[in-house]
């Protein structure tokens, strides 16, 4: 396909944008720390006020790293789904991954009282929440994969994924109806999404999951490109449809499932970023698109998080709303401007 050199300038541009977004993200927050101090703390200097170092090292840096992993990972899984389903509206959550995670979290937070009558669940920490969410998305994904082996039509698979989403959100509604306001509150806070409060161990695990997802995607570059022609053409080019479809579903499951488990359901990044990326990189070659969406997703997530934490104020907006507020108008703008959503 086209020469990678053509896109070198765009990659340099995106790299610089990532560094700026990263510094902006670390440099702002509820506590106003002068920017030169932030830089010096990052490079091991000692700030005027000792607590600043803890804020930067233990709060802002992990949060920025999480944003990068979450944004890049979601954007990549969106790209994989759009190519697999050859549908510009596909995102990482079309297979019911997010609804599966919601179901897991809802069962843990609200189902316990329904099943056992227990009202106290103070023993439940964030770790068990992440575990329940990933179990939920993994279970839904497993069902989708079993279906995928039987259903030959990829579009049918897409609809089945959406139906699973409807079923699980209906169960979540039922659970919510029977739960106390305190339980409901906890569930709603989880569904807001959050990139903060992850320990370094959790970030390491998340990074490992994202890296596995990236590795699987890179191994699928050829079949992804062939799938741009359609499944029959891809098969005639020597692509094993079953195998590549499974690889892509597993990669998406690991990426979107893992991220949702740790950061909650984060909307629109996976859907919007691949389209935004194609505005800069006028190619369909996945060798170029994969690194590009990773960078673009990370930048967008850092910026959304910067907005969400509302610099110099104590309140934090739900990140899920910010990504939707940014993402949805972008998709509308693209449609109005280009009249047709190309993928």
């Amino acid at each position: 396909m086209q020469n990678a050199k053509t896109y070198r300038i765009s990659f340099v541009f995106l790299g610089i944008a990532l560094v700026i977004a990263l510094l902006l993200n670390i440099g702002s927050g509820s506590v106003n720390i002068p920017f030169p101090d932030v830089i010096s703390i990052l490079f091991g200097g000692n700030p005027e006020i000792d607590s600043w170092r803890y804020i930067v090292h233990d709060f802002r840096v992990p949060k920025a790293l999480t944003s990068i992993l979450v944004g890049g990972g979601l954007a990549l899984s969106g790209l994989l789904m759009q190519t697999l389903f050859r549908n510009p509206l596909a995102g990482p959550f079309v297979l019911g991954i997010s609804s599966g995670a919601s179901l897991g979290a809802a069962l843990l937070l609200m189902g316990t009282s329904l099943l056992t009558g227990l009202t106290s669940f103070s023993f439940l920490g964030d770790v068990s929440l992440a575990l329940a969410a990933s179990l939920g998305s993994f279970l839904v994904l497993l069902v989708v994969m079993i279906v995928a082996q039987r259903v030959k039509d990829t579009m049918a698979l897409l609809i089945i994924g959406l139906m699973f989403g409807s079923i699980t959100s209906a169960i979540v509604s039922v659970l919510a109806y029977f739960s106390s306001s305190e339980q409901l509150r906890r569930f709603i806070f989880w569904s807001f999404g959050s990139v903060s409060n992850l320990s370094f161990n959790q970030i390491t695990l998340l990074a490992a999951l994202v890296l596995i997802g990236i590795a699987l995607s890179i191994l699928s570059v050829k079949s992804l490109n062939a799938l741009l022609l359609g499944e029959n053409y891809a098969q005639s080019l020597g692509v094993s449809l079953q195998k590549s479809r499974m690889t892509l579903i597993i990669a998406t499951g690991i990426l979107a499932g893992g991220i949702t488990a740790f950061a909650g359901p984060i909307a629109f990044v996976g859907l919007a970023v691949p389209h935004l990326t194609r505005q800069i990189f006028d190619t369909m070659e996945h060798k170029i698109l994969i690194p590009a969406v990773l960078l673009y997703g990370a930048i967008l997530m850092l910026l959304c998080d910067t907005i969400a934490q509302m610099p110099n104020s104590a309140s934090v907006l739900p990140i899920n709303s910010i990504t939707s507020l940014v993402g949805a108008p972008v998709v509308i703008w693209l449609l109005v401007r280009k009249r047709k959503m190309m993928f």
């Binding site: 086209q2 050859r86 490109n225 062939a226 741009l228 098969q235 005639s236 020597g238 094993s240 369909m284």
Partner: protein, 259 residues
């Protein structure tokens, strides 16, 4: 035996269809290198099903299909990609590809795990662009092309795949007469100059009679296969359509409407 090995494609007593539903049976033919063969028949008689079965997209019901003497059931997908390429009626899923990118995908069976193009690949791509008069359009996106241009791109992609056998499902639909003739003449040149075996389905019976080396008529009964003149002599075209509607004129090789 010698004759068997010479054939690129041999089909005997083939029955095709979906599950228990048989669409056509008793299909027998074989194709040598460098032969352009047209498959004709009324709508629904199984032309597309035959091509899909030959391409390995759906299983055959009974009979045998042999590629260079080997049953297609025994050929792995990756190896098949070097033996057989297809041009389908469906347009490419992404029309955001450029002409060159789309044709380059034809080289996938030969490239490494990342799909890096070697100089040999680029040579093949340029030859395909040249052969189908696409060099000026190479950087155009597929959604900017006319139907005729897009069809040429898809055939050029199959040529770039460099397989001894090329299957095309109705390559001339949606085209005007000029472009129909253009496409079919290009296919004929490709078959004769590069010794490719080309099998295509079409509704352009009159053009096929003029341009094809052999033809297969799917009539739901004996499915005759021969060169066009023989088929005319044996009056196989006469019974293709109800005679009260259209009649075949063997002198001119054309159909006349009964008013």
């Amino acid at each position: 035996m010698e004759n068997q090995l010479q054939n690129i494609l041999s089909v005997s007593e083939l029955a095709i269809g979906y599950g228990t539903k048989k669409v056509a049976e008793h299909i027998n033919f074989s194709l040598e290198p460098g032969v352009l063969c047209g498959v004709v028949g009324v709508n629904g008689v199984g032309k597309s099903t035959l091509l899909r079965t030959l391409a390995g997209f759906q299983p055959l019901l009974s009979g045998t299909i042999e590629l260079k003497g080997q049953s297609i059931k025994q050929i792995a997908t990756e190896k098949m990609a070097k033996e057989l390429s297809v041009v389908l009626t469906e347009s490419p899923a992404s029309k955001n590809l450029t002409v060159e990118e789309l044709i380059a995908l034809g080289r996938q069976p030969y490239t490494n795990w990342l799909g890096t193009l070697t100089s040999e690949d680029k040579k093949q791509i340029n030859e395909s662009l040249d052969a189908f008069l696409l060099t000026n359009l190479r950087h155009k996106k597929c959604h900017e092309l006319s139907d005729g241009q897009l069809q040429r791109v898809l055939i050029a992609r199959a040529m770039a795949q460099d397989t001894p056998l090329i299957l095309l499902d109705e390559p001339t639909t949606h085209l005007d007469l000029f472009h129909k003739v253009q496409i079919l003449k290009m296919l004929r040149e490709l078959a004769h100059n590069q010794q490719k075996t080309i099998l295509f389905s079409t509704h352009e019976i009159e053009l096929a009679i003029q341009l094809c080396d052999t033809m297969l008529i799917l009539d739901g009964k004996s499915n005759p296969f021969d060169d066009p003149c023989q088929l005319i002599d044996q009056q196989h075209f006469n019974s293709l359509f109800p005679s009260e509607m259209v009649q075949f004129d063997p002198q001119t090789g054309t159909f006349k409407v009964n008013k």
